[in-house]
């Protein structure tokens, strides 16, 4: 059975490659900082389960110090000159998109067709992780297609991947850091405290007020925790089930579904959701770190209002 460990192995080897290429990039004055940073990242993926909790803690501290003291440069070697790229694009034409299409195709085959396959009673891939495993298999297939069809040198995947990863820099690990922070917050009882605050001090005595408190609370709490999944149990257990369902007789399916979507409005607004909001500006080389969040503000606020109205209208039909 293919498990998530396979994906971690692939990521670990890729980052080990990034570390080596970073160390050899003479144009980057901080190249050894970059190499150490990606080397530690690779270690986490390859040996994380053998390091122990404290070992991983030290690793995380080391990465934060390397990143925090500015020992990791943003450099990354330059892309091939634009004239070469344009010539290559003209030569290859639309063939260039074939590897880009192999990726979604293999993901779709993996998720839709290979997931239920069993060999001798054992599933081919861990069904809970089928998406990520399919993605990893798809990347391997697509890179192979790119090397063959587009006649790219064997060194291209690691060398060009290193260019991209150093364009983004330490920010690429931020999502994992924030997820870990969420776990520490949960252990310390942060969620419980906020839930108590919301349910004690906010008005929930009319139906509209209760719907608004729940939806806006989901968005606000999600902004504070970076993740709607952390907010959902606290506010649904604290406000939605006892008051909206218990007291006002609302439909729990409508309330939960739209409640979660209200949380996503908060996800659009918070830098703590780094995967969606902070990594993309780095990846797209936008100077303003918060540019994507700022762009999302109007859509997020309008959607929050829409969700309040939808819940108010749809949840209490008889």
């Amino acid at each position: 059975m293919i498990k998530l460990g396979f994906v971690y192995l692939l990521a670990g080897l890729t980052f080990a490659g990034f570390a080596i290429y970073s160390a050899r990039d003479a144009a980057n004055p901080k190249r050894f900082g970059n190499a150490a940073f990606w080397g530690l990242t690779a270690l986490g993926f390859l040996a994380g389960d053998r390091l122990g909790d404290l070992g991983n803690g030290v690793l995380v501290l080391g990465l934060a110090i390397l990143g925090g003291l500015g020992l990791v440069g943003r450099g990354g070697r330059p892309l091939a000159p634009s004239g070469d790229r344009l010539a290559s694009a003209e030569r290859l034409g639309n063939r260039i998109f074939v590897p880009a299409l192999v990726l979604p195709l293999v993901v779709a085959i993996g998720v839709l067709a290979l997931k239920p396959v069993q060999i001798g009673g054992v599933p081919l891939m861990d069904p809970k992780q089928a998406t990520l495993i399919s993605l990893a298999l798809a990347v391997i297939a697509a890179v192979a297609a790119a090397l063959v069809l587009l006649r790219q040198p064997l060194s291209a995947p690691l060398q060009e991947g290193e260019r991209l990863v150093n364009t983004v820099g330490w920010a690429i690990l931020l999502p994992q850091y924030l997820a870990a922070l969420g776990a520490v917050f949960a252990a310390a009882g942060v969620g419980k405290e906020i839930g108590i605050l919301v349910t004690t001090y906010l008005p929930v005595d009319t139906r509209l007020a209760a719907v608004s408190v729940y939806c806006v609370g989901m968005a606000a709490f999600t902004m504070a925790m970076g993740n709607a999944f952390a907010a959902f149990p606290v506010l649904t257990g604290g406000v939605a089930l006892p008051i909206l369902v218990g007291q006002f007789g609302g439909n729990p399916a409508v309330i939960c579904s739209i409640g979660m979507l209200s949380g996503y409005c908060g996800t659009l607004l918070t830098p703590l959701a780094a995967n969606f909001n902070l990594v993309p500006p780095a990846l797209l080389e936008i100077p303003d770190r918060y540019a994507v969040i700022k762009t999302q503000v109007p859509t997020a606020l309008l959607m929050l209002i829409v969700n309040v109205v939808l819940m108010y209208v749809l949840a209490f039909q008889k």
Partner: protein, 230 residues
């Protein structure tokens, strides 16, 4: 109450521009220590959770070698060339079609066939920029940045407000599990169905914003808009 200082550390740390990795570690120690954990316990809890959450950004990380290789071969240039040949295309209208496609595929569970690293950077953002350039001439650097940010935002909005339509997704299963623990038996499909109205509303709202974005791009490039308009 004091435990909430950890959240405060995040807000202040991000606001004053400290390195976010350090801010996160400091916030973890703040809340952990105030909850009477020892420093070593906090470090171990943080390390444990970091290791458990390796899957969080893996979808970003594994596609980088592919995206880099395609860029070396000129995929962004070719994507822009195709758009430049189309008539009547604009950045906003192009992003609306991307959003529709992204919502439809996500709703049937194919969320990971596209994303910020594998589609927005190599394909969608260059195409949106090329569409704007075709309509209004070469964009200024700020305009270029705005088009890129809008491309990234469109992907986020499309995914967030369509992923819950797919029944087997983590968040739907989380709701089912939570309701089961509260003694409410819920068929996942009933939760999925009620995600559809918000998905349609998100498409309508964001599409209008994208059309307004087109107008702004057109105005910004007009003959009398030169100088230092904001």
């Amino acid at each position: 109450m004091l435990i909430l200082l950890g959240v405060g550390v995040i807000v202040v740390g991000f606001a004053v521009g400290l390195n976010p990795l350090l801010v996160v570690v400091i916030a973890a120690f703040t809340s952990g220590l105030l909850a009477h954990m020892t420093p070593l316990q906090v470090l171990a809890a943080f390390g444990h959770a970091y290791n458990e959450n390796r899957f969080v950004s893996i979808a970003y990380l594994v596609v980088l070698p592919l995206v880099g290789t395609l860029e070396r071969a000129g995929v962004r240039e070719q994507a822009a060339r195709i758009i430049a040949r189309l008539r009547g295309v604009s950045a906003g209208r192009f992003l609306i079609s991307y959003m529709v496609l992204r919502q439809l595929t996500t709703a049937i569970g194919l969320m990971s066939i596209a994303g910020q690293a594998q589609t927005i950077r190599p394909l969608v953002a260059p195409m949106a920029e090329a569409a704007a350039e075709r309509a209004n001439g070469p964009p200024a650097p700020e305009t270029r940045a705005a088009i890129r940010a809008m491309s990234a935002a469109t992907d986020n909005v499309a995914v967030f407000f369509s992923e819950d339509i797919f029944v087997a997704l983590g968040s739907v299963l989380l709701m089912v599990g939570f309701l089961a623990s509260a003694k409410i038996v819920m068929d996942p499909i009933r939760l999925s169905v009620w995600a559809i109205p918000s998905a349609l509303a998100a498409l309508a709202i964001h599409a209008v914003r994208l059309l307004l974005f087109d107008l702004r791009l057109a105005r910004g490039a007009g003959p009398d808009a030169g100088g230092d308009a904001p």
